[in-house]
């Protein structure tokens, strides 16, 4: 039951996301699709799962050519896709999520559905409470539910898109062992990732993509250096750890309590120095978001005091925080940071402090052009924010930050960006340290946390469980800690 994709082409306007991609996979394979962000892996998988239609090319499964016009066709052919952020229905129960979209009689029999769920999940080693609302499940658990559902529907090809972002080391182990079992049972497992180590650990064959094309395919094991060379087409220097620049105390928290949402932190006594970079690590919903939001003034701190460079921030609003030299960069660049329909120069006019009532458009345009230059934004002042690519949107956001900052807060600063963009963004961020800005950022990318942080605050289950020295720690330790375990 082999899978063959031949000469797949897909473009979006001027961008050739898939440029003649050919992949062939044997049954029982744990096949990795390796490539940087933007290499075309996601597009290829969306084509294979019927989410989007290829412009041209052929897909043949088990000798049968497939005409995939929609996900329904893919499901009928036995292809199941697990999205990076599992497409589950948050307010509904586990059982309803399991049953939604499955074929069956008009009358919904939840009792037999429940026993089917129990049976299927037991086979895979998972455990669910059918009546629990899915929104209270962790990302890893939602993945497990989705996998259970896809297999129950009879998937013969299972695609996983970047599944290990945001899950703990324990959950990762569980996932990998399930995938190995499935491959042993004869399924094809496609593991899409940009993480070399995981492909090395899990897969027995790999296809490497770059810029929309397949640049190599191999059986594992293969020398990592070769894979890296294929991924990037050149020798890539691992970004070295930046020189620490921490100075005097900038931010101090004493006896602070953060209890919003899932967070449950009491008696926080921390200091962060000027020019220091602190990374916040943890699974989604572990409390780091609440911590960041408290520093931003989006959530009031219960109890305790927060001082920034001598200024008492406790009980101050978000706007007051802004006025005191705090800047918050949200994860949703277009949804939360920018206004999609406004142009770059309009954004400049909007964010410049002390603008007169009657706008000075000339000044705004000039500043916009200077920012475009200074931050290498691919666009002109009249371009709308939504016409920019993700990397350029992030550059725009950085350029809009005020000159003097005491505290820079960022949520997932390089999510979804390719390595070059990510490095450029970080280089710009790090220059802020020179003027004494303290930087605090949350990320699901353990490598990013380890590379750029001076210290890492690890969150689990709503609490701050550990403070790590990033220079000493490593990915394995961090991976276990975010799952609540010390490495054994």
């Amino acid at each position: 039951m082999a899978l063959a994709l031949t000469d797949i082409h897909k473009h979006f306007g001027a961008v050739r996301a898939n440029d003649g991609v050919t992949v062939s996979i044997e049954p029982g394979s744990l096949h990795g699709i390796l490539g940087e962000n933007g290499a075309g892996k996601s597009t290829l998988m969306k084509v294979l799962s019927g989410f989007i239609e290829a412009d041209s090319g052929r897909i043949v499964l088990d000798g049968q050519p497939l005409d995939l016009n929609s996900p329904a066709d893919a499901i009928a052919a036995g292809i199941g896709m697990l999205h990076q952020d599992p497409l589950v229905f948050l307010p509904f129960t586990v059982l309803d999520n399991f049953l939604l979209g499955t074929p069956g009689p008009a009358r919904l029999d939840r009792i037999s559905g429940s026993s089917e769920l129990a049976r299927m999940s037991a086979e895979l080693g998972f455990d669910f409470d059918p009546l629990q609302p899915v929104r209270s499940l962790t990302v890893g658990e939602r993945q497990q539910l989705e996998i259970t559902r896809l297999l129950w529907l009879g998937a013969k090809v299972l695609i996983l898109d970047e599944p290990t972002t945001g899950i703990s080391a324990i959950q990762r182990e569980q996932l990998f062992s399930v995938l190995r079992q499935l491959a042993a049972d004869g399924l094809i497992v496609l593991f899409v990732s940009h993480k070399l180590e995981e492909i090395e650990e899990l897969c027995n064959s790999v296809t490497v993509m770059r810029a929309g094309q397949v640049v190599g395919a191999a059986e594992m094991p293969i020398a990592p250096a070769e894979l890296v060379a294929m991924m990037f087409g050149k020798v890539i220097e691992e970004p070295g750890r930046p020189e620490p620049m921490a100075g005097s105390e900038m931010l101090s928290m004493t006896g602070v309590e953060v209890t919003a949402g899932t967070a449950n932190m009491t008696n926080l006594d921390l200091t962060i120095s000027a020019g220091e970079v602190v990374g916040l690590a943890g699974l989604e919903g572990s409390g780091q978001r609440a911590f960041l939001d408290t520093l931003a003034g989006l959530i009031p701190a219960q109890k305790g005091r927060i001082t920034l460079d001598g200024i008492d921030l406790t009980d101050l609003s978000y706007r007051d925080h802004m006025d005191s030299g705090v800047h918050y960069l949200p994860a949703g660049r277009l949804e939360e940071g920018l206004v999609a329909g406004l142009t770059i120069e309009e954004h400049v006019a909007l964010t410049t402090r002390d603008q007169p009532f009657f706008l000075d458009w000339e000044a705004a345009t000039a500043t916009a052009e200077a920012s475009i230059e200074g931050f290498n934004v691919k666009g002109v002042a009249e371009n709308t924010a939504e016409s920019l690519s993700g990397g350029n949107q992030q550059r725009l956001l950085l350029s809009l930050m005020p000159e003097q900052l005491r505290l820079l807060l960022m949520e997932h600063p390089t999510r979804g960006l390719d390595i070059e963009s990510a490095e450029y963004i970080w280089s710009k961020i790090l220059t802020r340290r020179e003027s004494g800005t303290a930087i605090v950022f949350a990320s699901a990318d353990l490598d990013e946390l380890l590379t750029y942080s001076d210290r890492i605050f690890v969150f689990f289950s709503g609490e701050l469980i550990k403070v790590l020295d990033a220079a000493i720690s490593d990915g394995e330790e961090l991976g276990y800690l975010i799952g609540g375990r010390e490495r054994s």
Binding site: S49, D73, L99, G101, G104, R107
Partner: protein
């Protein structure tokens, strides 16, 4: 005070409103708001009246009204789903168009006497003391309203199709990834909702109010939209909202004898009430009641379908 007679009239008066709100609930549950409701109601009431008038039979009127309601809903569905036109904008323009059209075309028929839905007490059941009078001594329209509530409840919570509707209204991308034809289903349910609204319109001109005039529907279409929110898109809660409203209407009507000025206020009264009701269900103290009585949460909180009002696109 003859309670059974009073309750009987509440149930009867609320029947058209129930048909309209249930129809809108189905449409909105799948994600599509039909803001033209008041206009649809008026136009279908007028068309239903005229059709029954010409054909000499109420049934023809109901069929025609249903078609009108479905047609307007089809325009909304097509405009929003295929052409990505904003639901609110489209709904509002259709509201104005339908209202003006109803005035324009219906003008010659004002004051005419038309068909009427005959009473149909259920033999045996209607003789049960009290309950029989309240529930089984009505006509087809009222029984239809009961059926609509029950059928929609069953559809939403006991069938696969119902779970699918929840899915397409909550997170269409998720439903789409599961192979569900989101837009096709939204289209269908919007039209079904519109058809029910059409039936409600006919119920006003051929049953509850009889005849055609501009003020026939008393802008209750807007109240219906609010009741759907108030009832949190759950057919039984929505129906209760309609009966509550019906009770208030009957009470106000009876008060007319006591306070003569009330008659003037009557057409306006529902609207401040509507505002107060909406303020209440979102009010902090009310929401916190749900924390104190977790079992009652489903009945107190308002949880809209996550993707209501949005347009679903594949890419």
């Amino acid at each position: 005070m003859d309670w059974s007679a009073t309750l009987n009239s509440i149930v009867a008066a609320a029947a058209p409103l129930i048909l309209a709100t249930i129809g809108e609930t189905i449409s909105e549950k799948s994600g599509v708001i039909n803001l033209s409701l008041e206009g649809s109601l008026r136009l279908s009431a007028m068309v239903g009246f005229v059709a029954a008038f010409w054909a000499g039979h109420a049934l023809v009127g109901f069929a025609a009204a249903m078609l009108v309601g479905a047609l307007i809903a089809t325009i909304i569905a097509f405009g929003n789903i295929k052409l990505k036109i904003n639901q609110i904008a489209l709904g509002f323009v259709l509201y104005l168009l339908a209202v003006e059209l109803a005035s324009f075309l219906g003008d010659p028929f004002v004051g005419e006497r038309g068909e009427q839905v005959p009473p149909l007490p259920i033999p045996g059941l209607s003789e049960i003391p009290f309950i029989g009078k309240v529930l089984f001594d009505h006509n087809l329209v009222v029984y239809g309203s009961f059926l609509a509530v029950f059928a929609t409840w069953y559809l939403f919570y006991r069938t696969r199709a119902g779970l699918t509707i929840h899915g397409i209204g909550e997170r269409p991308e998720g439903a789409f990834a599961r192979g569900i034809p989101v837009n096709r289903l939204r289209f269908v349910y919007t039209v079904i909702g519109g058809a029910l609204v059409g039936l409600a319109g006919a119920a006003y001109s051929l049953d509850v109010k009889l005849g055609w005039r501009e003020t026939l529907t008393l802008n209750l279409g807007w109240i219906a939209l609010a009741i759907v929110i108030f009832g949190s898109w759950h057919p039984v809660r929505v129906a209760l909202g309609c009966y509550l409203f019906g009770a208030l209407q009957v009470a106000a009507f009876q008060l007319q004898d006591v306070f003569p000025g009330v008659a003037q206020v009557l057409p306006i009264a529902p609207f401040p009430l509507m505002i107060l009701a909406l303020v209440m269900i979102y009010a902090g103290w009310f929401v916190r009641l749900g924390d104190r009585w977790p079992r009652a949460r489903g009945w107190l909180l308002v949880e809209p379908p996550g993707a209501i009002g949005t347009i679903f696109e594949r890419e």
